[in-house]
């Protein structure tokens, strides 16, 4: 049995501008000790998915009935708030994006790491503090006993992110959700933090859901990748297979948009257009108006997840009609002047 099994997760926001279907029928599994990447552009629903797992979605957002989040045998969507709090931070925890703002400026870092222990476990302040210092050492903070007395502003960005990771891992959770943990950091620090996460994962046997828009990070850190677009999963594959033979045109576009060493092109390829607003997903395939292969069927028929290979699925009609891949054309995106830019 997988550690986490998400079934038909739908998180809708009842906004003044209409119903925003931010996460719209997402299903996936994470095994014990596995690292899974969740990628997609801003606005594709990956962060809302993460918040939904911890039931941290605030009104006007809500997890729709019929969604199931089965963690360690229990359905989190039906738990009461108190049991849910006991899970947050202890069994499932979260590493946030901005190490600058994820720490409270008015408390020392030791205090903040120890707070997580005190929230979850009865015991003396001193024990919690000792545990915090130990954890700070584990995440590679030099002379942690002294450093624990420092305030966040006295630490560099990389060090702060290590503190945030210490807070997330101190209760040895079974699953860590890392929401863009390296986005705000320098590239060299990024590599260190990823290395740290990998090392801790191997040592503690924690599963990690790594949320990112950076496929470079994914390639380094995860074993399986889930690609989201328009509030749903569009492709899921083992990481090597995804890089070798991405099936979905959106994934293809993401891969082309990655800078590559030795590449002499002046400009990076981009995917034309932007993610549509979640209040108005396009009919049919949600990617069809940005897709270079789209044909009539794509505008009318919503594609299911087609099985491509072992552990590889793709939400694209190309699986049904692979010959269409030869018919590449300019996508149908609406240009700034409001005219359709090209025909097929």
């Amino acid at each position: 049995m997988p550690l986490l099994s998400v079934e038909n997760l739908r998180t809708y926001f009842y906004t003044d501008n209409g119903l925003a279907r931010a996460v719209d029928g997402v299903s996936f599994e994470i095994g014990a000790g596995e690292t899974v990447g969740l990628v997609g552009e801003s606005g594709c629903g990956k962060s809302v998915t993460a918040l939904s797992l911890l039931r941290l979605v605030r009104p006007p957002g809500r997890i729709e009935p019929g969604s199931r989040i089965v963690f360690d045998g229990a359905d989190l969507t039906t738990l009461d708030e108190k049991s849910m709090r006991a899970i947050r931070g202890a069994r499932i925890s979260m590493v946030f994006q901005e190490p600058m703002t994820a720490l409270n400026p008015v408390f020392t870092i030791g205090d903040q790491v120890a707070e997580v222990v005190r929230v979850h476990r009865a015991g003396s302040k001193r024990e919690a503090w000792a545990r915090a210092v130990e954890m700070l050492e584990t995440v590679g903070i030099p002379s942690p006993a002294q450093r624990a007395h420092e305030y966040p502003h006295q630490l560099s960005g990389g060090m702060r992110q290590r503190v945030v990771i210490a807070m997330a891992l101190i209760m040895s959770p079974a699953l860590v959700i890392a929401d863009e943990p390296t986005t705000a950091l320098d590239v060299t620090i990024q590599a260190q933090i990823l290395e740290l996460l990998r090392e801790l994962q191997q040592r503690l046997g924690t599963s990690i859901l790594l949320i990112t828009h950076d496929l470079g990070v994914v390639a380094e850190a995860v074993s399986r990748v889930i690609v989201m677009y328009g509030g749903e999963i569009v492709e899921e594959a083992p990481v090597r297979e995804l890089f070798a033979q991405a099936h979905h045109p959106y994934t293809e576009g993401l891969l082309h948009a990655m800078p590559q060493v030795g590449q002499e092109r002046e400009r990076l390829a981009t995917i034309p257009g932007t993610v549509p607003p979640p209040t108005a997903w396009p009919k049919g395939c949600r990617f069809h108006d940005r897709c270079p292969y789209a044909w009539e069927r794509c505008a009318t028929e919503h594609p299911p997840l087609y099985q491509i290979g072992a552990g590889h699925v793709s939400r694209c009609h190309l699986a049904d009609e692979p010959d269409r891949r030869a018919d590449k054309h300019e996508p149908l995106v609406v240009t700034e002047t409001g005219e359709r830019s090209a025909s097929r």
Binding site: L54, R88, F107, V119
Partner: protein
């Protein structure tokens, strides 16, 4: 980054702030005078010395502020009044600030319909003129005990604080470390107490300091109207009120409590402004070097 802590401690900054030193100095003198003054005086707060010979005596060596129509020593009365006026104002502001902060924190943190309802209720309270309400209640409840006066001043004074706190809470709620605390299993109470309250403390301290001055003036006004501190209790307002009848001849009975009121209110306002400079770095203030764009606007010769 405006949510980074200032590296210089607030007290040090205050000590360097010129008008803060003035404000603090005046308040310190007043507090000391209120505490030890009546003990040093050889007269009692309500003691009538000699109703025949010492009635309405002008300032002299033995009575530096003169005496009033009941032959009471005005200096002693002003010192005793300092106790009452400062204590009433401080306690009332403590009460109103606590109420306002709690209300604002809950409304701002809860958000949604709870916030909406709480704010409409607050709008209702705000539509009642405070002074008129106080006069009405105090006229019916006469003579009011000091504790009653403090409670009344407190429960009618928290509306603006709670608006301020609510606004600050709403912006602090969006900070990532608040979300992080929730994600790590903290209860709402813990988040409010540990993560949101310290964030709103700065503006609240400023507002409370300004409110002390305000309430001293308000209490003086109410006593002047005869509905404040009960006679014969000496508060600055009641001394002033009793003296004003014979103002033409006995200027000293009015002048000295008047000076005390003005000096105190001024000192609290000055201190409040200084605290705002120190605690609220978003506001531009004079002790900060002018931003560069200002130097560009120098007139060309």
């Amino acid at each position: 980054m405006n949510n980074e802590p200032r590296t210089i401690p607030v007290l040090t900054q205050l000590a360097r702030h010129r008008s803060a030193r003035w404000g603090l100095g005046v308040i310190a003198v007043l507090v000391i005078a209120a505490l030890v003054g009546p003990l040093l005086s050889s007269y009692g707060c309500v003691e009538q010395l000699d109703i025949v010979n010492l009635k309405n005596a002008p300032p002299s060596w033995s009575h530096p502020f003169g005496t009033d129509q009941y032959s009471r020593d005005v200096l002693t009365r002003v010192l005793c009044g300092a106790r009452i006026s400062l204590a009433v104002a401080t306690l009332a502001v403590l009460l109103s600030t606590t109420l306002g902060t709690a209300y604002g924190l809950v409304a701002g943190y809860a958000g949604g319909n709870v916030d909406h309802t709480m704010m409409r209720i607050l709008d209702g309270f705000l539509s009642i003129p405070r002074v008129l309400l106080l006069i009405a209640v105090l006229t019916l409840w006469h003579p009011v005990p000091l504790a009653g006066l403090i409670v009344l001043l407190g429960v009618t004074g928290w509306f603006n604080v709670s608006r301020l706190v609510r606004a600050e809470t709403m912006s602090a709620r969006k900070l990532e470390y608040v979300a992080a605390a929730r994600a790590l299993g903290a209860t709402d109470g813990r988040i409010l107490w540990r993560h949101l309250l310290p964030n709103v403390a700065g503006p609240v301290i400023v507002a409370a300091t300004l409110a002390v001055g305000n309430v001293i003036a308000l209490e003086a006004g109410l006593s002047y109207l005869g509905v404040g501190a009960p006679a014969p209790t000496a508060s600055w307002g009641s001394i002033f009120f009793e003296g004003v009848e014979f103002f033409a001849g006995n200027w000293w009975v009015v002048l000295f409590p008047g000076i005390a009121i003005v000096a105190t209110v001024l000192a609290f306002n000055v201190l409040g402004d200084a605290l705002r400079d120190v605690l609220d770095p978003r506001q531009l203030h004079a002790s900060v070097p002018l931003p560069e764009r200002m130097t560009l606007e120098q007139p060309s010769a």
